[in-house]
């Protein structure tokens, strides 16, 4: 009963209702942007950007579906001169496999420059480039072994299936995730500060559960809010987008898009990782907001902290010298899409780890470990 009324308190606030409605509306708006970001070129070369453009492009590309043998690469590249639309993924992949990891914008010059005669031994060139990366990023013997072990698990030849809807959604789910993290921070900050805002603290703390179960319930309400808001809104966005664009490529390897990634998963699994990273960010946002608001007794500071953590921190990271540190800050949880592109690895003693598992486990634990602190802080208020 306590939890029900705690959630009712949260959901009955006018501003919270407006925020929840805005979040849902944004899911629809983002879906429209995602769906309409495709332009399908028909056989006459005319562009169509309607709701079904994505499915048309995917259908066109899926004529190349199946094992990517050197012969298929060669044929695809040859055809790219007069059919760029259906062959662009394969041409790009071939270029990346031949040239190596694209480091900066200059490398984009090479990104579609693979020639049919270069691809006869494309997988040998690719393995050679993987070895180069092992030497470049494997600055210690442990790191090098780690990379060799990870890259050693890559199976060739690749199997191609058009993955446009997934790659588009990485971008939109990441951006929408940041919006949700901020909204969740705002919603949860009020759970603890409202007792002081409405001067209900004296009655609240004079009751039997005021310094016990009622605080637990507030924390539960925060976690449920973070989970439900994130799950519902992301589901709405995903359902609309994938419903319209289709899910072609769900089981295709993510290596088709990023051949030097350390995450050898399918596009569907990578999407789940991006979404889960956002969920951990939401939990962290909720925990931090609840902790700050229970300490300061106001919402104002509490709502600013998630904004600093997830929106300001990336800009600070770009201008500050501690690059490695800023690749492990909380904002990276809402930047999983970009984390997956770069083979960043870290070493503590002889233990080597990748960026994304560290971010998810470390900040997941921080979010959980902060909850007893929230309880203790609120328990001691006005004592």
């Amino acid at each position: 009963m306590l939890l029900r009324y705690e959630l009712k308190k949260l959901l009955n606030k006018r501003l919270n209702r407006i925020l929840l409605a805005a979040a849902l509306l944004l899911a629809v708006v983002f879906s429209c942007f995602a769906v309409r970001s495709f332009i399908f070129l028909d056989s006459n070369g005319d562009g169509h950007s309607g709701f079904f453009a994505a499915r048309s492009i995917v259908a066109d590309k899926n004529q190349w579906k199946g094992e990517l043998t050197p012969e298929k690469f060669s044929e695809s590249i040859r055809q790219s001169h007069h059919d760029w639309q259906s062959t662009s993924d394969i041409t790009y992949l071939a270029s990346a496999m031949l040239v190596g990891e694209f480091h900066d914008y200059d490398d984009q010059d090479y990104s579609y420059h693979a020639k049919p005669e270069q691809v006869a031994s494309i997988y040998d060139a690719y393995l050679n480039n993987l070895r180069k990366i092992c030497s470049e990023y494997g600055k210690s013997s442990e790191k090098k072994k780690f990379l060799e072990r990870k890259y050693g698990k890559i199976h060739t030849p690749f199997n191609y299936e058009a993955f446009d809807s997934w790659e588009t959604m990485f971008l939109y789910v990441t951006t929408y995730g940041i919006v949700l993290v901020l909204i969740i921070g705002f919603l949860t900050a009020g759970i603890f500060s409202e007792e002081f805002q409405y001067r209900t603290d004296s009655v609240f703390f004079s009751t039997r559960y005021g310094r016990g179960k009622a605080i637990h319930t507030k924390i539960q309400a925060g976690l449920i809010t973070a989970t439900l808001v994130y799950a519902v809104d992301i589901s709405v966005l995903s359902a609309i987008c994938f419903g319209i664009m289709g899910i072609s490529g769900a089981s295709a390897s993510y290596l088709l898009s990023k051949p030097y990634t350390l995450y050898h998963v399918s596009f569907g699994q990578m999407y789940a990782i991006v979404v889960f990273g956002g969920y951990v960010a939401s939990l962290l946002s909720a925990s931090v907001s609840m902790l700050i608001s229970s300490k300061t007794k106001t919402m104002s500071v509490a709502v600013c902290i998630p904004f600093v953590l997830f929106c300001v921190s990336p800009f600070i990271g770009r201008v500050m010298p501690f690059h490695t540190f800023f690749t492990l800050t909380p904002d990276q949880l809402t930047n999983i899409m970009n984390c997956a592109k770069i083979p960043d690895i870290y070493q503590i003693g002889s233990f080597v780890f990748r960026q994304i598992p560290f971010l998810i486990i470390f900040y997941g634990l921080i979010s959980i470990l902060m909850l007893p602190l929230v309880y203790q802080t609120y328990y001691k208020v006005n004592m």
Binding site: M1, L2, Y5, E6, K8, K9, N12, K13, R14, E194, E195, Y198, R199, T200, D201, S202, V203, F204, S206, T207, R208, Y209, G210, R211, G212, K213, A214
Partner: protein, 224 residues
């Protein structure tokens, strides 16, 4: 104080806060929940108390739409939800209009059976009507305890009225504890607390609890 002790308490603070977006019934159900009442019992208690405080018809009204008097009635209902052994009411009638105050005073009298009601107030008439036992407290210490009758009896021979010229009113107010100044045809009629008759033709009056309050807490005009 532990949770087991707090379950004996009902508390209505002077600055009674509420959740503006909950309706009266939901507000009381939430308070019942944090008081540890089981849902079925809580629902019965809420219905009973809403009826008792005359808020049954407004049970679906949002708290932010209630008047000051209605809020106070919801306040006493929330304090009574757990049928407390000790009911603490801090300035419960402050800011209420006379009708609401009388209604609220009666309500307090009704709910005061079988429990200790600690009523903190500056409105003396409330105490006179409600309290069986009065504790006078100054600067955190109790200095006199008794019934209203006892306190009145303690100043029975010290209340006087007299007529004085208007230009001497200030002088009397500095010299004596003046309970009331009433304009009269030939000057002013003063009600004063004094050990001796302030003037030779002063008339002794029946003391009230307000006079006793002035006697124990009052300051002469020049001392404030």
């Amino acid at each position: 104080m532990g949770g087991d002790y707090r379950r004996l308490l009902g508390y209505l603070p002077q600055d009674f806060g509420y959740y503006p977006d909950l309706n009266v019934s939901d507000y009381l159900m939430y308070i019942a929940a944090i008081k540890g009442l089981r849902p079925v019992f809580a629902r019965k208690q809420v219905d009973l108390l809403l009826d008792q405080v005359g808020m049954k018809r407004a049970c679906k009204v949002k708290m932010r739409k209630l008047s000051g008097g209605m809020l106070r009635r919801v306040g006493i209902a929330q304090a009574m939800l757990n049928d407390p052994k000790i009911l603490i009411l801090d300035e419960p009638t402050a800011g209420l209009d006379p009708n609401e105050r009388i209604r609220f005073r009666n309500l307090i009298s009704e709910v005061s059976d079988d429990r200790l009601v600690l009523l903190s107030t500056h409105i003396v008439s409330d105490v006179e009507f409600i309290a069986n036992k009065i504790i006078l407290m100054n600067k955190g210490s109790f200095f006199r305890t008794g019934t209203a009758k006892d306190l009145i009896a303690s100043i029975q021979t010290k209340v006087w009225t007299c007529n004085v010229p208007r230009n001497q009113v200030d002088e009397y107010m500095k010299k004596y504890l003046v309970a009331n100044v009433k304009t009269a045809a030939q000057g002013a009629e003063l009600r004063m607390i004094s050990e001796q008759p302030p003037v030779f033709d002063a008339r002794q009056e029946q003391a009230t609890l307000e006079d006793a309050f002035l006697y124990y807490f009052g300051e002469k005009a020049g001392n404030s």
